[in-house]
Symmetry: C2
């Protein structure tokens, strides 16, 4: 699996995107803290965090018995630059092409 693929797959789950949102709002949270914000057991959350970590979207620091989670936006940046940008640049022209291709039935 490529790096990009790992990132896209990590972003495909709404719970994981929500976890990223939580870390966006405040970084350095522990597993237990994140667990309390989600309707799911600790184990489920831990699995999601692991996938996010493997995708490079979350970085972790151990502090005693706690595990602190930090957001890393770089992979999102990368898929943005390498992939998404390409599709969002053609705004107008693409829509016009499409409309022409489909004919003008409003």
């Amino acid at each position: 699996m490529t790096d990009d693929d790992r990132v896209f797959k990590a972003l495909a789950d709404p719970t994981r995107r929500f976890l990223l949102d939580l870390l966006f709002a405040r970084e350095g949270r522990t597993l237990t803290e994140l667990e309390s914000e989600v309707e799911m057991t600790r184990f489920g959350v831990a699995k999601h965090l692991k996938l996010l970590e493997e995708a490079g979207l979350v970085v972790v620091r151990r502090s005693g018995r706690e595990k602190l989670h930090f957001l890393n936006p770089v992979p999102i940046r990368l898929i943005h630059d390498r992939w998404i940008d390409k599709y969002t640049e053609r705004h107008i022209t693409a829509l016009v092409d499409l409309k022409n291709a489909l004919g003008d039935e409003t």
Copy 2:
């Protein structure tokens, strides 16, 4: 499932991203034509195209016995604006925050 979720899930599969790339290069292709570019039977490709269509990423026009596929970049634009942008804006500051949080062990 939300619209955003459908789009993220649609983008999560490499074959589907490849199909979008094909349509990006040239729109208006038929199923058979797309099939020939992928190591997969017609049925698999048709399933992927259906998901892309349900996510609004692909629009279709029937022409006789053929089905022509067109790219619609709008949903990508939307998740870009509503979600990805938020994470890619904080470039520098986020990295600095992270580095500070992690300590300075280079």
